[in-house]
Subunit: 421 residues, 3 copies
């Protein structure tokens, strides 16, 4: 190091280290999403879901490096409050690369990786809503375009210094900018694709239930863990007061979301429903994401409480509208994302609820047409939905030629090779 | 920031960041406990166990915010060496909220969240011992009261500056204060409930074995990972010498616990037993928890060695007494918790083994009557144990109306929808 | 603390904290390896694999404490450029134990634990290649010797200041020094043991496929997560510029590895293969490990691209040679380890490709004879391979008397205890 060792340098080192660790935790959310989606769906589509999710993560990181980062944070290359772009690829030698960047908080590389991990989540949210019937190649194309262009556009409005930032809109870690952006496309995708075969025939809907709830529970608790990086890292420094408040409000909203959804489902269905308790945790987490930095613990608990109720109501509303969302992506990410963004206006006198509504509406007005156009284009060309036979037999067999649990159904003496004896 | 940037400020930032990361790691222990308990039990009770564990975590965080934190760390509102309480709810604006707290190590919020993550573990330990037969609502009520009142009372004696702290008792991260507190209630609960049907009929006990050992292994290794935050965070700062010694002693005790339990079980059962190796890791971890900050690496290895032997002996002793503890919570957390606390007196000339025994005995003398009273009260009112039919069919079906592995047993052509063709 | 609080002290604290967190992340890689290996193999051998992996980790930590650390980093006790040793056991009171060590970056204990976590990975790599047919006790003996002596010897050549360090050889985090060291022994072990029964009989090879791909996916994503500690920690400080560059290059290589392997397998097999996509991630990670600190993001992407292609080719080459490597350890760790080490010479003008080749060749020339000798000795004495009957029935039943999924195949009414009614 050529730099003098000063207290400012020490803060830079700790900030950068925290932001990297937060990035790793957001990375782990991708394992959480994959486990949740696989666990909540049928075992005949598990290979497809795992393949899809690891590809989305990879496509997300690469397209964000190629175009997304420079579109979302145009810096000097600003092309206007609605649209900006600073060229292709991450810079191998931007000024300030090896020294403090962003007010001394972290390096350019750290900035990129933290944002890239976020970007990939937006497409992953969509994945759950279209699971078990979407054509793999079409969905991957959708994900690439959505992460490369649609997500960074909206992100730029608020976090890149665009027009929404100027209105006073507050969305701390992305109830709207991340979760609703994914949620709107999830809703559009589920609606375009239509429900899975037999979902709403009133007879066999039990067959469509999740095949591995421990896997789903692993997914949800890893998502909760990763959220500490998602929200805690959104402070953009290791500032003790700010980060620790965010961690406490995030924890309490998630905990209350669990109990709220569990209690409501217990009351509605007469039995305590594990899927609802798990979705309650995510509902609370999405709900607090917009306001985690400015609310009191009691307000966080109330936000979680309402989130837990909303997620149950939204699951029922979706079924009533016959929009099939296998993992509840729309109730969790869109409905609670909207609620969390509105809650900012309710709990804080400094933020106008009208401005919050403007941000929500603008995001929907952008994401729905964009995703609808993308899904429709793909449907007319490659096709968005798999053949009926493939859906019935399972995507694993037809699209991948593999089984998730190869040896399970055969665990007899014959399988053990004894037939040969 | 209005504060001057000084080296002291930089240390505050790094301390606080480390304590938050340690908290996240302790959070992940809850996933570890859930996976271990689910994996070590029958698949017909898996939904129940996952539901129970995510609710305990949530109840733990919320009740600790409401009452536990102020009971355990009364500060100025001290009501005596045995009992103290500083009011309800976590303070939204305590003095020092946004600045250094606890000797400049971390903020008030960080203090709360680290302690809250600990508190919830005490109830989770009990969960494993009463699994597969406890009534859900009764257990959740027990957990709420135990985390809100019983755990913080004992915690206050030692860590809150109460009478035990004045005796010179040493329990670094809670072999007694956390693990025995859970372990005594686990023993009481398992004894009150009685064994699972057919456990000790000498015929079908094989049927009660764990249904998913990979899930159990995931659980144990996540617990080991989280323990680095549990013990490492108990330094209450990022002091390099202290934290790194704790990490080394913790690692070596766990490793020796694995080998010790594996070897003893190999010798006793003639075959190397995976469950015992997994419990050996936890035994070593519980054993080193009281002394991780003061022992040499060689002493840590010896503590782990004895822990691994004790856990095997205790599993057999429990079965001999016909106390049914499906996951081995009592052998791991109570027996090795006591051993680890005693070991402080054996390895350190500065600590009296008599005082260590006093702390162990006082904890038992408090926890057993409290948990016995709670369990008995609940048994007489709501009932602690499910109906025999529910136990036989499984709690998932009767209490939740769900199956953990919905589609597995039906993976035939019929299931794939081909019957319709 | 008696030390004055200076900016240098603050840097020491943050460096040490980062190195410990990196160590915990490398620890989690052991869970990743266990999950990957168990998921990619048959359910009748799952208990054996989990037992083996948790024992390797434990043996690795303990033998590294006993002898490995002092062999790899001889310090003053240097016995020559090829061989050095500083005595048995980790020192309980080395000078500088509680203060800055290694240029103020971290403590002696931190140095030990980070290196110990690395050491255990080398033996774990071998485990996957010999899975499903190796005798447990023989393999554990092999692992103990390999981690205690062989791995530290090669490590000393480069990282301990030995002869390879003097040549200008560059292997940042161990494409050769860790992954190839494991990979050579994996190749030797798989070759000595021969293929699993029926693997190459052209008929039943489908039966040998992995039994739990979600478990394998969990394993790979945990390995990816842990790799941020493996590579990021290899900076040996929290230096923001260095660590953040390493994290970005590591991420992009892994992402490109996934897409590259997925695309090639899609083209070759006509279907997108999940196992190949998962191995592609690991291939990219191993490939970038030697050069993560010196390459541009674009070079990292190219390294990942080539790694993904190589891993597919190597899997086919292994099958062509009838060397049975159930999890693809040799294609991932040896082939991509060699490629990554060569890539240093291709992307950097400062490093000679001839010197890189020298390091690769010397490692192979040391590891192959050593592991061949060990395997042969064990084969002639204890036996390296289990009996044919044990292999057919499964190691779980014969070597452990346990089943990984005890209650699964019996989930009928009878199992639920109703037969007794």
């Amino acid at each position: 190091m050529d730099e003098a060792i000063t207290p400012e340098l020490a803060l830079f080192w700790i900030n950068n280290t925290w932001m990297l660790i937060a990035s790793f935790m957001v990375f782990l959310m991708h394992l959480g999403f994959a486990a949740l989606e696989a666990g909540m769906t049928q075992s005949k589509n598990t290979v497809n879901i795992l393949f899809k999710n690891i590809c989305i993560l990879s496509i997300g990181l690469l397209t964000y490096a190629l175009v997304g980062f420079n579109l979302m944070y145009p810096g000097e290359a600003y092309a206007g409050a609605f649209w900006g772009f600073a060229g292709f690829g991450i810079n191998t030698d931007p000024s300030g690369l090896t020294i403090a960047y962003a007010d001394g908080a972290y390096t350019y590389w750290t900035d990129f990786i933290f944002q890239a991990m976020f970007a990939a989540t937006a497409a992953t949210i969509v994945s759950g809503a279209v699971a078990e019937r979407v054509r793999l190649s079409s969905f991957l194309l959708f994900a690439a375009v959505y992460v490369a262009i649609a997500y960074p556009m909206v992100g730029m409005w608020h976090w890149g210094g665009g027009w929404l930032a100027e209105t006073g809109f507050h969305d701390f870690a992305g109830s709207t900018i991340v979760h609703s952006v994914g949620g709107w496309a999830a809703l559009t995708g589920a609606w375009v694709l239509g429900p899975r075969i037999s979902k709403y025939d009133g007879r066999s809907d039990q067959d469509l239930r999740g095949h591995n709830l421990p896997l789903a529970a692993i997914g949800v608790l890893l998502l909760w863990f990763g959220w500490y990086g998602f929200n805690g890292g959104s402070v953009l420094s290791a500032d003790p007061a700010a980060v620790s408040l965010v961690v406490v409000t995030t924890s309490l909203a998630a905990a209350m979301g669990v109990l709220s959804a569990a209690m409501v489902s217990w009351w509605v269905h007469q039995k305590p429903n594990l899927s609802m308790a798990l979705n309650g945790a995510l509902a609370g987490l999405v709900g607090i994401t917009a306001s985690a930095d400015i609310v009191t613990p009691m307000a966080a608990i109330i936000i979680g409480l309402v989130s837990g109720i909303l997620v149950i109501g939204a699951v029922h509303a979706m079924d009533h509208m016959r929009i099939d969302d296998p993992v509840g992506a729309v109730p969790v990410h869109l409905v609670c994302g909207i609620w969390g963004t509105l809650a900012v206006g309710l709990v804080s006198v400094e933020h106008s609820i009208m401005v919050q509504m403007l941000g929500i509406a603008a995001t929907g007005a952008f994401c729905v047409p964009v995703s609808l156009t993308l899904f429709t284009l793909l449907d007319r060309t490659l096709g968005m939905r798999v053949d009926e036979e493939h859906e019935l037999y399972g995507l694993d067999y037809h699209e991948h030629g593999m089984e998730a649990y190869g040896a399970f159904p055969l665990r007899t003496d014959e399988h053990f090779g004894l037939a040969a004896k």
